[in-house]
Amino acid sequence: MNPRRKKRLTIVTAIIIGLSLVTGLVLYALSQNIDLFYKPSEIYLGKEDTGIKPINGQRLRIGGLVVPGSVHRDEDSLKVNFKLADMKMPITFNESDPTVTVRYDGILPDLFREGQGIVANGVLVDGKFIEASEVLAKHDENYMPKELAEDAGEQHEKPSYSQEQLKKDN
Amino acid sequence: MQFDSINAFFNMGGYAFYVWLSYGVSTCLLVALFFSSKANNQKIIKKIAQRQKRENKLRQAAKLQNEQNKQNKQNKQNEKNTITSSEEKS
């Protein structure tokens, strides 16, 4: 490589490294906003890396596991409430885990079920309730054919709604 | 085969809209990209060919002009020669 090209390579590399550094720092500064959601335990203890606790009335996203047996659906409207616990891999749940109750009035996504990960968007009330305006299902990277899932004891049924419930919505 | 009937296939277990939207849009975009790339290739060849034709024409015209100039010169020379020769005669 001749000196002129070598110099050009150095300059280009220097520019790239410099810009990457700047971008990295900017991203680091933004990192607390780039996190999509709070975990239920973080509602009580504050964000893991910053320690910031959400305040009542704050709009926030919360992500976690729908606690099995905690889903209560209203029979003739779309109202639903359920508890959320921290998502852990593999999926387990202890009675002592901190939970947050989410209240929602709307159609749940097809992937919603007990034991599923979800993200809810809403307002914090009384320190442990979320009045959600949107519930999104988060799924993991695993896919399985139905037969195999049944053999493994896994089942999924998407939330179904009666005509009556849907009518109340409109 | 995962589907019992043609209808079941098109219905996609209730997700027809989303599945066919995805496959439809992807197909359209890729077909458009492929054929526009092909068309671009033809266009550039046509463009170069056209320019070449124009250049050739210009060159031929220049050549013709050149030859004509030469011819003219020759003619003039001839005329001169005939004139001088006729002058000589007289």
């Binding site: 050009r8 390579l9 280009v12 520019i15 790239i16 810009l19 990295g24 990192s31 780039i34 996190d35 999509l36 975990k39 992500g63 749940l108 996504p109 097809d110 992937l111 993200v119 999104l136 299902a137 799924h139 993991d140 990277e141 695993n142 896919y143 399985m144 054919p145 139905k146 037969e147 899932a149 896994e154 999924h156 998407k158 | 995962q2 589907f3 296939f9 996609m12 209730g14 997700y15 989303y18 599945v19 939207l21 995805s22 496959y23 849009v25 992807s26 975009l29 890729l30 990209l33 492929f34 790339s37 671009n40 290739n41 550039i44 060849i45 046509k46 463009k47 170069i48 060919a49 070449q52």
Partner: protein, 247 residues
Amino acid sequence: MWKWLHPYAKPEITYHFTGKILPWFSYLATILLSIGIVWALLFAPADYQQGDSFRIFYLHVPAASLSMGIYVGMATAALCSLVWQLKLADASAAAMAPVGATFTLIALITGAAWGKPMWGTWWIWDARLTSELILLFLYLGVIALHNAFEDKTLAGKAAAILTLVGVINIPIIKYSVEWWNTLHQGATVSKLGKPSMTMDMFWPFVFCFLGFALLVATIICIRFRTEILARNSMRPWVRELVEKVEG
């Protein structure tokens, strides 16, 4: 390696070489894609949670990973064109940008169409989706710069710099699902070791992925040849070639 590569730095030789491999790329792409898509739509089993909407996976994942792969290729070409001033590297970068943009768009659209029924939303500003959208804008910026200047060398230089700056976005897309809390799930097939799906779901993916990769190669080849012709239009070999084709 330079000695081996050097002849391909001559536009004429590259043009004829790509002309020879182009049909192979397109045949293979057609075969693999037909098998892959039919397999994905008809024979792959549905997911136990997602049902048949899972079939979008076979478009979404290849498109998304190719959108990043093409960018890496384009960045390598941009580096070569900046440092060694290889005109051909510049031409290839210009050829890749529109293809990459199309695949990014496909990844975003199929992702939205998959997210609506499964997650419950077409779009969310999480780190993965946002960084993929930034990738689309980077591609559009590169395309715009290539077309912004009359002088192709200057345009190539500007586009190459933007391309190299944008490289930082690639690891961000790739690791966004691990670094931050996102709605988007982690990687299924690029994980080291076993993919997180059964083999009868995985094989159609292999066909689709290779098929799309070869389709990318085919289209880039066509565009690359167009770029070579456009940039060498005054050369005798191009004149001869054009005369032969156009009679």
